[in-house]
């Protein structure tokens, strides 16, 4: 279900009931190379037809963002959707609330950050295919993650991980190949982002590496990107 022809600009559906936001963001995303279509709520968005990617607010009149995701996925349409959450929710809670959104961004966000999310999600998505974020089990080599049970195995041996480490592994594995800044991981996964608390992220990455036997200097799974953040470097497939 996609409208892209090889050289056309990707069709981006921007859904928010606040006109002040859609006007500014629409102009910005239009200049960044997208064919932007604006909808004022989930119902209008459902009526707007096919899209290559949707950027959608959560709190809206009539059909809200979560209901929009559910209805689109129920139709078997797998085009990526990025939700703009306005309540400080951790990834754990967001992911539990809506299976099928590809990424989340807390308002207010840096428009550049949104743009890099859009690009990453589009790069990852295969038109017409169920995205990793909608899968229940993920596999990367010998590593298997059961997302709903929050359990992980390496070469058929179950791993002992803290709940936060599993949440981090879940996020990294469902967004492979993308660079995630510490700040972004912290606010998305922990639900708080007080200055100077990003070491919490480093500690969980260290825990994951220890349990996975991943050598930071030549990692198989989690790679450190030069003080910028972390990236899950191994390919991930739906298991």
């Amino acid at each position: 279900m996609t409208s892209t022809t090889p050289d056309a600009r990707p069709r981006l559906l921007l859904v928010d009931d606040d006109q002040a936001i859609t006007a500014g963001l629409g102009a910005f995303l239009g200049r960044s190379g997208y064919d932007v279509v604006v909808a004022a709520d989930g119902q209008e968005a459902l009526d707007a037809g096919a899209f290559d990617i949707a950027v959608c607010d959560v709190v809206m009149p009539r059909v809200d963002g979560r209901e929009f995701v559910r209805r689109v996925r129920a139709q078997g349409r797998w085009a990526p959707i990025i939700l703009l959450t306005s309540v400080g929710e951790s990834y754990e809670r967001s992911a539990a609330l809506d299976e099928g959104a590809d990424d989340y961004l807390n308002k207010p966000f840096d428009p550049q950050e949104l743009l890099s999310r859009i690009r990453a999600v589009l790069r990852r998505s295969v038109p017409g295919e169920r995205p990793l974020s909608a899968a229940n089990r993920l596999r990367s080599g010998g590593l298997v993650l059961d997302r709903s049970a929050r359990r992980a195995w390496l070469d058929d041996t179950e791993l002992t991980l803290t709940p936060k480490a599993v949440m981090l592994l879940d996020y990294l594995m469902s967004h492979p190949g993308e660079l995630h800044s510490r700040d972004r991981l912290l606010s998305a996964l922990w639900g708080f982002d007080f200055a100077s608390s990003t070491r919490a992220v480093d500690h969980r990455v260290a825990e994951l590496r220890r349990v996975l036997g991943d050598d930071p200097s030549s990692p198989v799974y989690i790679e450190t990107a030069q003080s910028l953040g972390y990236r899950f470097r191994a390919p991930v497939v739906t298991a």
Binding site: A20, I21, G88, D110, T162, K164, F194, S196, A200
Partner: protein, 302 residues
């Protein structure tokens, strides 16, 4: 009403006596009582009166204690209700500010103009959002369940000190950590290591921020079922009048205005410690230095 009932027999007696006296009643009642029995009865009567007085005093005290307890409960309920209202207000304020700030930032990005004045607007919008967001997160921490796991407090402290040393290289040489291990080390705690690290780092960071020179001592010990972390500096100190307020949100002492900061730090420290069943206190002398004490209950692991 009880007094009326109590006095009624006396009144009735007096009335009957007056009536009989006026009517010229002259008869007398003579009771022959053995002296030992009489003395025994008098003794019993005196004891009875004494006991009655004692019971009266005791019930009065109980009543006062009940009133005091009810008062304390009322105050606590009121304070909790106030915090609750405060929390909800911050959540609403945060929610209502998010869309305008998102719109401001989106509009500036949409202009595609690299005018430095627009960068200032963008920066200030972000600052505003961060402040309100921090206040809301702080309020949320008060009610949010902790992610508890076994924590080695010494590691958390060493780690926070290392982080401050890295952020403020000028203070690195002044930082020292001492840990009491004799007669017993601090047992492993059940705590949220991320939040605890944040609290310790905030306090150590403050010590580095507000002391231009002199040692910064971080001391770790066990004391009567509590793990105690003390962070002492020889810095500018907190003015006496500001000591009570430093743990309030956005409160900044009068002599701290030249140092950048959000005014969130110590409020955050207090919230984190209280959520763990502990607390934080501060002693300071202006011009001499400050010691901040974090106390955490050591609970045996299940």
């Amino acid at each position: 009403m009880r007094y009326v009932v109590a006095v009624a027999p006396l009144l009735a007696g007096v009335i009957v006596a007056v009536v009989l006296g006026v009517a010229g009643e002259r008869r007398e009642l003579l009771i022959g009582t053995p002296l030992p029995l009489l003395i025994g009865l008098v003794g019993a009567l005196v004891s009875g009166v004494a006991l009655a007085v004692l019971l009266l005093v005791r019930s009065g005290r109980r009543g006062a204690a009940r009133v005091a307890a009810a008062h304390a409960e009322g105050v606590a309920t009121g304070a909790a209700a106030e915090r609750d209202a405060h929390r909800r207000f911050l959540a609403r304020l945060d929610h209502e500010l998010k869309n305008p700030v998102t719109a401001i930032r989106a509009t500036i990005a949409g202009l595609g103009d690299d005018d430095p004045a627009l960068a200032v607007v963008d920066d200030q919008a972000r600052r505003l959002a961060t402040l309100v967001g921090d206040l809301r997160e702080l309020a949320e921490l008060e009610t949010r369940p902790l992610d508890l796991e076994p924590v080695d407090l010494e590691r958390v402290v060493q780690d926070a000190v290392a982080a401050v040393a890295q952020q403020r290289p000028e203070a690195a040489g002044r930082l020292s950590v001492t840990v009491d291990r004799v007669p017993w080390p601090i047992p492993e705690l059940m705590a949220d290591p991320d939040l605890l690290g944040l609290a310790v780092e905030n306090v150590v960071g403050n010590a580095a921020k507000f002391s231009a020179d002199g040692p910064i001592e971080v001391r770790l010990r066990e004391d009567g079922g509590h793990a105690v972390v003390e962070v002492a500096d020889a810095g500018r100190g907190v003015p006496l009048l500001a000591v009570d307020a430093v743990f309030d949100e956005l409160a900044r002492a009068g002599n701290a205005r030249d140092v950048p900061g959000s005014g969130i730090g110590l409020a955050l420290v207090r919230t984190i410690l209280r959520q763990h069943g502990g607390d934080v206190s501060l002693r300071s002398r202006e011009g001499a230095g400050t010691v901040v004490t974090l106390r955490l209950p050591v609970v045996a692991r299940r």
